[in-house]
Symmetry: C2
Subunit: 502 residues, 2 copies
C-alpha cells in the first residue's frame, strides 16, 4: 500500500511540475516576454498542458486510486493521505469523463474565441463574436452533459470552480442577497455621492508601488516566497508553495486602482503561501474553490484595506508618501473616498456594494442562456436591460456592455462568475468568525498589526488547502453553512455609518 501511495505521489509530482512550468510560462508571457515570443509560447504552453492532462488521465492513476481505496477508508476523513486520495479521485473522475477529442475541440475554440474577442471589443463589434458565443454555449452544454444526473445543467460547470455548490443553492443565496442589496443601493444613491477627487490626482507610480508593497508586507505576504511585477491584467499565480507571485497595474491619475489591486492579489497569494508545506507538489496544495479564494482577496482588499481602522494607521503614512497630494486632506474625506458607492458600468471598477449586482446579473444571464430562455443574439439587449433595472445605468455601447469581461470568450458559459459574489459573502463570514475568536483584531488593525488575523486565517483557511470542500470548510470554521447575514451586517454597519443611514 505504501508503494502504491508513493507511486501515486511520484506521478502527481510530475503532473504538478508540468502544470507549474506552464504557469511560469504564462507568468512570463504576461510580464516580460518580448512580442516575438508569442507564437512559440502558445505552442509550448499547450504542449505542457496536454502532457499534464495525458498523464493525469492515464488509467494507471485510476488503478492506483482503486487500489488505495481500502487504505483511504481505513483512515480518518481529514487524514492527509486519505484526503489526497479523495481529492485526486475527484479530479481524476472529472478529467476522465470528458473525452480528449472534446477537450481539444473546446480548447481550440476558446483560443479562437479569445482572439476574436480581443479584436472585436475595441471595434464594438458584437456580431463578430456572436457565432463564437453560440458555439461556446453549445460546447458548454455538451461539456455539462458528460456529467449526467445533474439537477441543473449549470451544476457541472459551477462544480469546476466551486465544487459542492449547486445552481439552486447559489440562486437562492443570490436572490436573498439581491433583496437586501437593491434597497441598500437605492438608499445610498439617494444621498449625495462621496467626493473622491482626492484620489484623482497625479500619483507617481514608484511611490504607489512602494506604499502598496509596504502594506502587503505588513499583511503578511512573504516576499521571500513571492514577488510583484506589472501586467495589463493583475493576477496571482503559484509555481510552488515557496513561489507565489502577484502582478498589479497602476493609474498615475487614480490612486485606488493599483493600491487595492495589490491588496486583492496579495490576499489570493497569501492563501496559496499558507497551504501546509507537506502538500507541496500535490493536488491538495492550492485554494479549495473560486469562492473561498475570492473570500481571501476581498477580505484583505475590503474588510481590512477599505476599513476605517486600517486607514487610521496607514493614512498618516500615505500622507507622508504623498504630502503634496494628501497633506491637506483629512481622513474624514479620504475614508469615504475609497468607499464611494456609485452604480457604474464596469464590474472590476465597482465599489463593494454594487459589485455583486454586476456579478449576479451575469450569473442570471448564464443560466438563461443555458436553459434556452435567452438566445445569444439577444444577449446585448438583455445585458442592457439588466443594467438599467439593477443599477440604473446604460452602457453607450457593447464595449463596456456585454463585451467587457473576458470570461465567456475564453471559457464556459456557466460557472464563471458566481465565485466573485460567493467570495464577498464568505469573506465577511470568515472575518466575523475570526473577530469572534479574537475580539482584539479590529484594534490590532487600527495599530497596523495583522498577525492575529493572518494566523487565524492560516490555521483555519489556508493550511488545509483543498483538503475540505468550500462547504465543508465553512461548516468546520463557522459551525454552519454559508450565510449572507454577516455580509449584510458588515455592509449595513459600514455604509450606514458612512452615509448616515437610519
Amino acid at each position: 500500500m505504501e508503494a502504491k501511495l508513493k507511486e501515486l505521489k511520484t506521478r502527481l509530482h510530475e503532473i504538478n511540475d508540468l502544470n507549474a512550468a506552464a504557469a511560469v510560462l504564462g507568468w512570463d508571457q504576461s510580464t516580460y516576454m518580448p512580442p516575438g515570443g508569442a507564437p512559440a509560447r502558445a505552442r509550448q504552453m499547450a504542449t505542457l498542458s496536454r502532457l499534464a492532462h495525458e498523464q493525469f488521465t492515464d488509467p494507471a492513476i485510476g488503478r492506483l486510486l482503486d487500489a488505495l481505496r481500502p487504505y483511504e477508508e481505513s483512515r480518518p476523513y481529514d487524514d492527509d493521505d486519505a484526503s489526497l486520495i479523495r481529492v485526486t479521485r475527484r479530479d481524476y473522475e472529472r478529467l476522465t469523463r470528458v473525452p480528449a477529442g472534446f477537450m481539444a475541440e473546446f480548447q481550440t475554440h476558446t483560443a479562437l474565441s479569445y482572439q476574436a474577442w480581443t479584436e472585436a471589443r475595441p471595434r464594438n463589434d458584437f456580431k463578430a463574436v456572436e457565432p463564437m458565443l453560440e458555439k461556446s454555449l453549445d460546447l458548454s452544454r455538451r461539456l455539462a452533459d458528460y456529467f449526467p444526473g445533474y439537477d441543473h445543467i449549470a451544476d457541472p460547470l459551477i462544480a469546476f470552480a466551486d465544487y459542492g455548490m449547486k445552481t439552486a443553492d447559489v440562486r437562492r443565496v443570490f436572490d436573498e442577497l439581491r433583496q437586501q442589496l437593491v434597497p441598500l443601493v437605492k438608499t445610498i444613491t439617494a444621498q449625495p455621492p462621496a467626493d473622491d477627487s482626492c484620489l484623482r490626482q497625479p500619483y507617481p507610480e514608484p511611490m504607489q508601488w512602494q506604499f502598496g508593497e509596504e502594506v502587503i508586507r505588513r499583511f503578511g505576504y512573504d516576499f521571500q516566497r513571492g514577488r510583484q511585477d506589472k501586467t495589463h491584467h493583475p493576477f496571482a499565480t503559484k509555481f510552488s508553495i515557496g513561489d507565489v507571485r502577484i502582478t498589479t497595474r497602476f493609474q498615475e491619475n487614480y490612486l485606488a486602482e493599483g493600491m487595492f489591486s495589490t491588496m486583492h492579489e496579495a490576499g489570493h497569494a497569501m492563501y496559496e503561501q499558507g497551504v501546509n508545506p507537506a502538500y507541496e507538489g500535490l493536488p491538495l496544495a492550492s485554494g479549495t474553490s473560486a469562492g473561498v479564494h475570492e473570500s481571501q482577496s476581498r477580505l484583505w482588499e475590503n474588510l481590512v484595506g477599505r476599513s476605517r481602522g486600517f486607514w487610521e494607521y496607514f493614512y498618516p503614512r500615505l500622507q507622508q508618501v504623498f504630502p503634496d497630494q494628501l497633506g491637506q486632506t483629512a481622513l474624514d474625506t479620504f475614508y469615504p473616498a475609497v468607499n464611494k458607492v456609485e452604480p457604474s458600468l464596469i464590474r472590476t471598477d465597482a465599489d463593494e456594494v454594487t459589485y455583486n449586482l454586476h456579478v449576479m446579473l451575469r450569473f442570471g444571464l448564464e443560466l438563461d442562456m443555458l436553459e434556452g430562455r435567452l438566445a445569444v443574439r439577444d444577449l446585448p439587449d438583455a445585458w442592457q436591460a439588466g443594467y438599467r433595472a439593477d443599477l440604473g445605468v446604460a452602457a453607450p455601447d457593447n464595449r463596456d456592455g456585454v463585451l467587457q469581461d473576458v470570461h465567456w470568450f475564453a471559457g464556459t458559459i456557466g460557472g464563471s462568475f458566481q465565485g466573485y459574489t460567493l467570495g464577498n459573502i464568505l469573506g465577511a463570514q470568515f472575518f466575523e468568525q475570526a473577530v469572534t475568536a479574537h475580539p482584539s483584531i479590529p484594534d490590532e488593525i487600527r495599530q497596523g498589526e495583522f498577525g492575529t488575523l493572518h494566523t487565524w486565517l492560516k490555521t483555519n483557511i489556508y493550511q488545509p488547502g483543498r483538503k475540505f470542500t468550500a462547504n465543508e470548510l465553512v461548516e468546520r470554521v463557522t459551525g454552519g453553512p454559508l450565510r449572507i447575514e454577516p455580509y449584510i451586517r458588515y455592509l449595513t454597519a459600514k455604509y450606514g455609518q458612512l452615509y448616515r443611514l437610519a
Copy 2:
C-alpha cells in the same frame, strides 16, 4: 514518407517545447525567482529535462529515423529535410548510447559537486571538492567509454560541444597558437602597461544599461525578439527563434565589465535570432557548436566592440552619456584602456591576447587528467605551475586558482574549454572573410553602421543553424579548414599598432 517525416517533426516539436520550458524556468531562476522557489524549481526543471530525454530516446524515434534514411539519401546533403534527419540521428545516437541509469548518476553527482563547489570556493577549500573531482574524472572517462573507437579519450567529450573536432586537431591548433602568442605577450608586457584608470571611475548603472542597449540595438540585436535582464553570471538563452534573451551584470566602478558583457551576450543571441525561421522548434534551430557560438560573441565583443573604428563613432556618444567621467579623456587614452594587455589570474577578466593562454592551460590539464598523467590531488600545483610558466602570475590561493571556473564542478572533465579559443580563432577567420567579401565593412563600422556585417553573418553563419558542422561551415564559408593565421594577423596588426611593436 511524408507522414513519417511529419510524425518525426511532431515528436521533435514536443521535445523542443519541454526543453524550451526548462530554459524559461532556468532564466526565471537566474533573474526574478524569489529564494523560496528554489527547491521546487530544481525538481520542476529536472522533470522537464527527464521527460525530454525520455521522449528523445524513445525507440520510436529510432524507427522513424531508420524509415526516413532512403528519403534522406535521395535528397541533397544541404536539403533542409535531409539535414534535419541527419542531425537528429546524430543526436539520437549520442543520447541512446548512454544508459539512462548512468545519466541519472552523472546528473546527481554534478548537482552535488556544483553545490560543494559553491561552498568550497569562498572557503578556499580544495580538499572539500577533491573527492568530487575524482568522481567527475571517473564519470567523464566512463561517459567517453560509451563511445568506443575514439582516437583519444577526450574525443567523445569534445564532440558534445564541438562536434567534428578531435583532440589531436585541437592540440595541434593550440600548439601553433601558443607558439605565436607567448612571444607576443612577452613583447607587449615588456612595454609600459596601458593606463585604464579612465574606466575605473563611478559609472551609474542606469546609464551603463542605456548605452549598452543602444550599442547592441545598432549591432542588430532585435529587442522585439529578445530582452536584457540582470543576473549574477551573464548568459544568453533561447526559448524560440522569436525569443532569445540575454543577461548582464554591471560594476558601478568599472565601465568595461557590463559594456563588453552586453556586447558578448548579444553576439550569442544574434546568432540564435538569425537562424532560419523555418527550423523553429526543431534540432536544426540553434548554433552549431560551442566554438562557432563563441566566434560570434567574441566577434561582436572584440573585433567590433574593441576596435578603433567602433570607438571613433561611439566614443563621442559615450562621452555625452558620461561627461563628468570621460569629457576630458581623449579617444587616444580610452581606446588603449579598453585593450589593455596584462597577464592576470582570472580567465573571464582577461584581455583578448592573454585570454587564450588561460583556456589552453585548462585544456591541457583536462587532457593530462584524462590520460592519467595528472592526479586530481596534484591539480592545484599543476595549475599554479602553468600560470607561472605561461602568464608569469601566481594566485595567492585556490579561490582564484583551480576553483575559479565552474566547468569541472558542474560537468565533464574534458570538452569544457576548447570552444572559447576555437571561438577566438574562428571569429577572426569569419570576420576576415566578411571584410574580403565586403571591403566597406571597416568604414561602415567607423560610421556606426553594422548592416553589411550583420547581413553577411546572417546569411553565412546564422541561417544554417546546425545544418552544417563547424568544420563544414568553415569550409563552406572560407573555402578551407580552420586556420589561426587570420587571428594572428588581427592580433599582430592591432596590438602592434597599440604597443608600437616592430
